[in-house]
């Protein structure tokens, strides 16, 4: 008898749960959309006139079309279309379904694409970023670090497991994600469900390094600082142009790092780092690592193949992004003793990138200048260089 009562109690519990489920299932929260501004009672989309296309010199992965009254349509190739609506203006009617509306001022941004922070910093937009995908320790950019430490920016969890509650309750009005979000599609979907528009920045697909930097202009459009963005970009390009004008030095360069499994990770021939080497006047050692269809920019090759191809390279540059910075040649040889045979090691022309390099796309121009410097000067002053340092000989 008692057993029957127990079973009854359990089944009641189950029924309770089931009813809870059912009541929730049919529920779609409309409150998020209630936070959005007024409905679309604006001008007819079809009749809006195009004022101009944003001039882009190097970037190929996005376009911006500016319309009258300040509307701007951002089209990121294969990723999405976004209509920037100026503050106080109404949303045009008759928009295509896939266009995501972004309401200015975009001042409560969740930035999970670390490379974009530097671009925001350049146009003075760090203040518009409220939530960050990296904690204070993870940033090399001082403004961001400072903001996280004094509380004006909040850490909202990494891109794959963001703190939805925080993002929602802070009234985030735009989430900028890197292409890594495609690996965790449920995060993008959940954010959109909560009413936060998601912009996936595809600057990593840009083949030209200056193209990557040119995304500065997109962020300028978002923040309403197009002219500033253009000015800064032109400055950087001008600085690089000097170097571009010079003839090549003919020196061969290898850019690589050694993975934990002992293979060597090198850039492909069409990768943007390869381009930078060429722009700086050098020649990339591997000229035939073509794009084999997948979207990767690097390739893992065996030590043997690397030895074969890069043994006689004039300059070696070690990529510190994954493993950490190296400072002495001994540290390099500890990773692979075979490197001792390399010409560049024997002549002492081994360099390493700074860890902050990949967080600072604005500095790509400076990196090109650095490369040019090490290719043309025999004993460059370490104060001159921004992102590269030579590996020293001798004991640690």
């Amino acid at each position: 008898m008692r057993k029957r009562i127990c079973i009854l109690a359990v089944s009641v519990l189950v029924v309770l749960m089931a009813s809870l489920l059912l009541s929730g299932c049919s529920h779609t929260v409309g409150t998020a959309s209630a936070r959005k501004q007024a409905a679309s009672t604006g001008p007819d989309w079809g009749t809006l006139t195009v004022e101009k296309e944003l001039p882009l010199q190097y970037a190929t992965q996005f376009t911006v079309t500016e319309y009258e009254d300040g509307y701007a349509l951002i089209d990121i190739t294969d990723s999405g279309r976004y209509l920037v609506v100026p503050e106080g203006m109404a949303v045009p009617s008759g928009l295509d379904k896939d266009i995501v509306v972004l309401y200015q001022p975009l001042d409560r941004i969740y930035l999970a694409a670390t490379s974009a922070m530097d671009l925001f910093r350049a146009i003075g937009g760090v203040g518009s970023i409220l939530l960050s995908g990296e904690d204070a320790d993870g940033w090399y950019i001082d403004e961001a670090k400072q903001a996280l430490e004094d509380g004006s920016m909040l850490f909202a969890g990494k891109y794959s497991a963001p703190d939805y509650e925080l993002i929602y309750s802070e009234g985030c009005n735009l989430a900028i994600e890197s292409t890594m979000i495609y690996h965790t599609p449920e995060v993008k979907e959940q954010l959109e469900k909560l009413g936060v528009p998601v912009l996936v920045e595809c600057s990593s697909y840009e083949g030209d390094p200056l193209g990557r930097m040119e995304w500065l202009k997109l962020y300028g459009v978002l923040l309403g600082k197009e002219e500033l963005a253009e000015e800064l970009f032109d400055q950087e390009v001008a600085a690089v142009n000097d170097i571009l004008g010079q003839t090549g030095t003919g020196k061969t360069v290898a850019f690589f790092y050694i993975t934990t499994t002992g293979t060597v990770n090198v850039r492909k021939s069409s990768d943007y780092v390869t381009k930078m080497i060429e722009m700086a006047g050098g020649e990339y050692v591997f000229s035939n690592l073509e794009d084999d269809g997948n979207a990767l920019s690097t390739v893992n090759m065996s030590m043997e193949a690397f030895y074969d191809g890069a043994k006689n390279a004039d300059v070696l540059i070690y990529n510190s992004a994954i493993d950490g910075e190296l400072h002495t040649v001994d540290e390099l040889l500890a990773k692979s003793p075979l490197l001792a045979d390399f010409k560049a090691v024997k002549s002492g022309d081994v360099w390493c990138t700074g860890k902050n390099l990949f967080q600072e796309p604005m500095g790509l121009g400076k990196l090109i200048a650095d490369m040019h410097t090490i290719l043309t000067e025999d004993e460059p002053d370490s104060g001159e260089l921004n992102y590269l340092h030579r590996l020293t000989n001798g004991g640690t």
């Binding site: 008692r2 749960m17 409150t31 929602y168 599609p185």
Partner: protein, 337 residues
């Protein structure tokens, strides 16, 4: 004696139900955004207001998912432990999670490697397909073998094969893909939506009901196959049904939350030591409740202790589960002596 048993069951169930309610309330109240109890109650009944989305779209679906999946894992573990008469059998012993991981990695690398994007539904279906694939192999083998210990071995072998193929495929993938695969393998309850909950509740509740209806043949099976058959159990169909049910439950969990370790192994032992019985008619609902309670507790810890960073749910379950199982085993040994 029977009265004592019944009283024990009543207390056990009451205790579990109470713990469930307490944890439900606790989980509802916990999160980065501080909401008062009154506020939450109001939102529960009215569904409107500033923070309604937090409660209804973020916390509630996650809580319900944890309850369902935690219970599913635990029941699956119980079924397999009984079937194999092996105390360390768990929901993934038949290679379910390895199969799921294989298909998920193929999907991730296949689509993303080509620069195409996929929806979360695709990953869920991929994981489910992978699990069912492993289960299919195991079912095929189970018809041909006589001893159940062979089935465990074949499940483990299938797991190894799938892992090997996964590693092979991953060799050609970029480092970033691998990181995500690793994250997926740790399991997480983050990002549950009501759609997810809808699907998983149908599957889990249906499977549970069937498992409950199988209580009689399961308890016959506890005496061994020979006696079970004599008591009227069709051994062939029973084997297939049990493998199918436990696989579906495990597959559901893997598909929506990734492979979460330890719950399926530890919770049935905990429940057995509380209820002091192995009767399936008690154990099935008790394991479900126990699994839900355990997972609610672990999820609470995983998402609040180092907020906003989320701990991996598998590490939390292992940290709490392992010592408890060890203690129980040691005490049982002492008692036996």
């Amino acid at each position: 004696m029977q009265k004592k048993e019944n009283r024990r069951y009543c207390i056990g169930f009451a205790g579990l139900a109470l713990a469930l309610c307490v944890l439900l309330v606790g989980n509802l109240n916990a999160g980065s955004v501080n909401l008062s109890v009154g506020e939450i109650c109001r939102i529960l009944f009215e569904k409107t207001g500033e923070n309604a989305a937090i409660v209804w779209d973020i916390r509630l679906p996650r809580i319900v998912a944890v309850v369902l999946l935690g219970g599913a894992l635990s029941v699956s573990g119980f079924l397999l432990q009984t079937f194999f008469a092996n105390p360390i059998a768990g929901p993934f012993i038949l290679g379910i999670s390895s199969g799921a991981k294989l298909i998920v990695s193929l999907t991730l690398i296949g689509f993303l490697g080509r620069g195409m994007s996929i929806g979360s539904v695709a990953l869920i279906i991929a994981a489910f397909l992978g699990s069912m694939m492993s289960m299919g192999f195991v079912l095929l083998i189970s018809n041909r073998i006589k001893r159940m210990s062979m089935l465990i071995i074949s499940g483990v072998m299938i797991g190894y094969i799938c892992s090997a193929v996964t590693d092979f495929v991953v060799t050609f993938a970029e480092d970033s893909n691998i990181v995500n695969l690793h994250n997926w393998s740790l399991g997480s309850f983050s990002g549950m939506t009501w759609d997810n909950v809808g699907v998983m509740s149908t599957v889990v509740i249906a499977a549970l009901a069937l498992a409950f209806l199988l209580s009689k043949p399961i308890s016959a099976y506890q005496l061994g196959e020979v006696y079970a058959q004599n008591m009227g159990v069709n051994i062939r169909m029973f084997r297939a049904a049990l493998i199918l049910l436990s696989s579906v439950l495990s597959a559901c969990v893997t598909a929506f939350a990734g492979p979460i370790s330890f719950v399926g192994v530890a919770v049935p032992h905990l429940i057995r030591s509380i209820f002091k019985t192995a009767k399936p008619i008690i154990m099935t609902p008790a394991c479900f409740l126990g699994g839900s309670v355990f997972c609610l507790f672990c999820d609470l810890i995983a998402r609040t202790v180092f907020s906003p960073t989320e701990l991996s749910i598998s590490s939390v379950t292992a940290v709490f589960g392992a010592p408890v199982v060890i203690i129980i085993m040691v005490r049982r040994q002492k008692h036996n002596q």
